[in-house]
């Protein structure tokens, strides 16, 4: 007699049913769609916020860090520089903050019905990715404007790296987020820590400044932060600013994969019983 499902007490180290996850792909897109259709209900400006939000942030950055503090942008126009950095960083930050509250924010649904739990963090990442695409759209618009008004742009073949970088950032954000998500089922204060942590991480990454401002002797240590090479390569690809040695990006990929696997292992251990502790 063949049985299709076996529910057992102990799970293996890596117990993620990818086939099942794929079967629930429609759910991922419905969650994404739900987020969009409900996010701006009963607001005056509606989806305009998707554009206004990053614009305001970027203008603030350009004013505070560009004008007032006068940080170097390696020759790139201020507005494009911060728009570019903010796109990738806010994508990463949203991935972490959104996925880290997966269990606690959705306890009501998760406690009542089974579906592969990874569906929720994945749909958070997809949503964040779409938000970033909007920012990229604005960036393209701004770059075209610059190009037409005669500012010299350095767009090279490196632009092909953009999708790779987006995927890497998504995976890293997902990994970090689900590690925190797994831990928050037990310790709620990590939720508060996350928003602090992400802020701190931002200043430890070349978001509002460039890596060339870091003293030479700390540089190799500094670039171990997996986001530092990502952002640098990202700006190199889009704005043609100074790049880094490929080895650092390689290390960043290794860390990304390690974090993601740790996250999935932790997540798959917690997801089976988290309802007992939330």
């Amino acid at each position: 007699m063949e049985y299709t499902t076996h529910i057992k007490a102990k799970s293996g180290w890596f117990d993620i049913d990818l086939k099942e996850l794929f079967r629930y792909r429609d759910l991922v897109f419905l969650f994404v769609k739900r987020t969009y259709t409900t996010m701006y209900k009963q607001t005056i400006l509606g989806p305009m916020w998707l554009i206004l939000n990053p614009l305001i942030t970027v203008m603030l950055y350009a004013f505070v860090f560009g004008r007032v503090a006068g940080l170097s942008t390696d020759g790139a126009p201020y507005f494009a520089f911060y728009l570019c950095s903010n796109a990738i960083w806010s994508f990463f930050a949203t991935c972490i903050t959104e996925t880290s509250s997966t269990f606690t924010a959705n306890a009501a649904i998760l406690g009542k019905v089974y579906f592969p739990r990874l569906v929720m963090p994945i749909s958070s990442v997809v949503t964040a990715m779409l938000n970033m695409m909007i920012q990229l759209g604005i960036l393209v618009f701004v770059l075209v404007y610059y190009g037409l008004s005669g500012v010299e742009l350095h767009i090279s073949r490196a632009v092909l790296l953009v999708p790779v970088l987006i995927i890497q950032t998504g995976l890293l954000g997902l990994g970090c987020g689900i590690i925190v998500a797994a831990l928050t089922t037990k310790y709620r204060d990590l939720v508060i820590l996350v928003s602090f942590g992400v802020q701190l991480w931002m200043y430890a990454s070349p978001v509002v400044y460039t890596f060339s401002q870091i003293p030479e002797k700390y540089l190799s240590f500094y670039l171990l932060n997996p986001m530092a090479p990502i952002i640098t390569v990202w700006r190199h690809a889009i704005l043609g600013t100074k790049g880094i040695q490929g080895i650092y990006w390689g290390i960043s990929w290794l860390i990304t994969v390690a974090v993601l696997f740790t996250g999935i292992i932790l997540f798959s251990r917690i997801e089976r019983t988290f309802m007992d502790t939330v």
Binding site: T4, A9, K186, Y187, L190, M275
Partner: protein
Amino acid sequence: MSETVIKIENLKKQYRLGTIGGRTLNAELQSWWARKRRKEDPNLRIGEERSDYGKPFWALKGIDLEVKKGEALGIIGANGAGKSTFLKILSRVTAPTEGDIWLNGRVASMLEVGTGFHGELTGRENIYMNGAILGMTKKEVDRKIESIIDFSECREFIDTPVKRYSSGMYVKLAFAVASHLDAEIMVMDEVLAVGDMKFQKKCLGRMGDEARSGRTVLYVSHNMATIRNLCTRCIVLDKGALIFDGNVEEAIGVYRAELVKDDLLLRIECKDMLRRNRLGMKSHISTFEFCDVDIPEYLAGDTMLFSVYWYNPEQIRDAIARITIKTAEDELIATSESQIMHNVGSGDHITRFRFNTKNLVDGMYKLVFSISEINEFAQTELLDEIPQVISFRIIEKDLYKNQKARWIKSYWGNIRLDPMTAEDITV
């Protein structure tokens, strides 16, 4: 038809007392530090024993069960018997601590209808959402949407956000989605306890059809009538163990007996029991005692005699005693009032009550005894109530000799009113 679809072996689930619920890292460190220094843990609830901390509690203590294809299995048991835990494990919301379950086919669990419904989305959007959560693909929903909308009786409002729906419509829509799942195994927890009678009937009918068409249905309920209607087999859980498996009527009998087995008491001392609100101040009941019986069992028509010891610090002008009678499953049936006791002086009282049981039909019952005061505006104010339920049993024998027909409670209720007269006036 005798193919096994669910096979459960030695299923156990353990919870830990005291660690349930999210704690902060800080609290954890505090407790750890306190334990280190053998001081009192600052995070324990007052009155909670330290020894209870982290003490394992078995919600399920080893269940073995096989369910065949096409069976409609009822699961009954008192609160805390482990029914919900059992369903949660079956529907994979939480994992077992020990044991194995093998399933053949998809499981549709309806522990709650309307999971994932979002008020801002329209009925149609929610059908897709809820369907996907329950495991349907978009294509499947596309194929069934017309039938779902028809079943929900909400076609007019299908493109309106569900936050504008009445609660009845909400439930109908949710149930319509759930009932269109193509799962081989359906797991349900009291979902039919909602909606209006007509819709409930429709749902029950649909469930019945499901079972007949070869699906397996597992149904948890406190409502014995739906269990009777729907199920072909029934199991009884008690404190995490399976104590009966088989015929539905017998199972209901076992469940009833189990419910009251522990509390067929003759005498209840309730002087020091905790009262809710501010009861027990103006009048305080200390003892309740059934008189002239060995166990509180009465032949229908017997008079139930009981004494109540109570104390009141001040004189009460007009007092009244009540017994509220409930079924073993806690459904309220009826209430009997004493005559008004005038000018009850301060001090201790022993009062003997007589209650004629002739209107109660065969079965287990619970009663709640209370004393109230009637004030000058003819309003009654509850003074004290025995905080423990008191159980008793009514037995009917020799029905035929007593000129009574067999009574079916599910049709006619627990109270047999005084007989009406029948006089033939045919000319």
